[in-house]
Symmetry: C2
Subunit: 359 residues, 2 copies
Amino acid sequence: MRLLNERNIEDIALGAAVLGTGGGGDPYIGMLMARQAIRDYGAVELYTLDELDDDDLIVPTAMMGAPTVMVEKMPNGDDIINAFKSVGKYIGKPIRATMSIEAGGLNSVVPIYVAARLRIPLVDCDGMGRAFPELQMVTHTIAGIGATPMAMSDERGNTVLMETISNHWTERFARSVTVDMGAMAMIALYAATVGQLKTAAVLGTISQAERIGQTIRSARVTEEDPVNTVREAVGGYLIFKGKIADVQRRTEGGFARGDAFITGIDDYAGQQLQMSFQNENLIASIDGAPVVTVPDLIATLDIDTGEPITTEGLRYGFRVAIIAMPCAPQWRTPVGIALVGPRYFGYDMDYVPVEERCG
Amino acid sequence: MRLLNERNIEDIALGAAVLGTGGGGDPYIGMLMARQAIRDYGAVELYTLDELDDDDLIVPTAMMGAPTVMVEKMPNGDDIINAFKSVGKYIGKPIRATMSIEAGGLNSVVPIYVAARLRIPLVDCDGMGRAFPELQMVTHTIAGIGATPMAMSDERGNTVLMETISNHWTERFARSVTVDMGAMAMIALYAATVGQLKTAAVLGTISQAERIGQTIRSARVTEEDPVNTVREAVGGYLIFKGKIADVQRRTEGGFARGDAFITGIDDYAGQQLQMSFQNENLIASIDGAPVVTVPDLIATLDIDTGEPITTEGLRYGFRVAIIAMPCAPQWRTPVGIALVGPRYFGYDMDYVPVEERCG
């Protein structure tokens, strides 16, 4: 166990936004929320799974919806506490801790807010090792853990609880309710024991995010090439440098979908990268040929600072570097590829591990 | 207390379909479901509120959605039991009985099915004295009783529970979930005590429906004018006789909406009646002038048998009589008119009690 202070939270939010591959919410808003909670309620205890009992029950907490909405509509804090407590009340057993369901600027720190306010531990793992747009897309699903009982709460005081026959049905109902709640809802779901999570979760995600965040912060003062230091910290590949020439986006059924077109610079002059996203970056193609696909991670970094840019933050003229990273091994199984491979998202192409194309 | 047998159920389903004013589901399907339950589990006890303790908790049960779907997708019975039990489990107190939330061919007998299968009483009252298309449109709302905790279940085994800040929010979430469940869901909601219901409910609805059903059945053998005997039984007014010339319908967001155009015959030759409906009949206008409006009841009867025709059963060429009946007094209050008056449904006209126009 170690304590997370305000500085740690900033690093986690920033580093998780790299792992968030363009989704998972804005790191600035998430960080503000978690930092205030630590100021109000004290430092948060970060545990590894090994430091807890196998029977301890863990309930992840998160924001669901189109991240674009966050700019106008801040969660008020009570909403996520309502969702978390509703699941606990429904299950009728004590919940030992919370955790992130995904790595992302916001969803890495929403559980920190919950942990601070309720004075419960945060667990150093998540359910993706990155961010994904749909509820069933978690390593819990691969391990056969149900998303329900799931609770969703809005800032007005409404709560919806569900028990479904599959995690795809959870996604279906929850997506509609999210739209009704104003395109954003705070959620608690995927209750599991520590014993289950030892194989079902992606371990160490919070520490990994923190290290990435520290790297970006150090690069601000050491004047190293920030993109290269981030690439090294994540163990990834630089696949492109360029200038954003166009971004086409649409919000559909609670998702932010679109494509960004990036014109190459430096070594990449004369080439064009197309990035297709649905909340998160899904496919990066150079001159029409796919180079990295989901579930491997694709991050867009500011070329000068190494800071991650979310899909909703993509703007004409930004100078960016694109880096790719291997996904957690669970995703590379047949069940994992069926859940989150390119074909699930409607792209007629096979998944090829990033190491094979870029290694 | 008295026992309801199969014959009583048939009468209730038929008579409630008259009170259902075109909505509330098909009486044939509802009757089949309830009759089978009585065959399997025995007769159902019908109680008046006075025969129960004021502290007894009553949870109404119903079908929600577009009745047109019922023809293709029968409820399987477990769904409504799941919804009812989920509310009980959530409240954590024993539920004494169930009741109808609305009068209608299906929703008058769904609670009979629940009562038979769970061997609990049915209460002789409902929350409308008719049928309405939206969840918040019940006399419980006028009395300040919340719709939630509400449970919704489908035939697959999915259940959604909600706690909302208003009955309008319940309607909003539940409507989306109903669409996701396949345009139909089985629901349990509006938990209230007997003490509350003594002023909050419309009393005696089941007995009234049974009397109307008996009247229609007798008319089959006595050769009396069936439309006139029904009109007398409901204390209503004959406003039109004609032949259906056109029906324009559309299913929108879980509702069956449309207009029927009826060409007058006999005393009404040369006139045209337009009936606007949203699941239920809302406005009857003759030659462009409104004659009866919601919340007063408008029923379409087969001219030869006196049997009610639901809005989804309206067909070109049917010879029909239109009768109008005064609504329950709760609806004629300012709060009632705000909830279910013509303006709520988008019609730019004031409510005028049917007695003033037709009396």
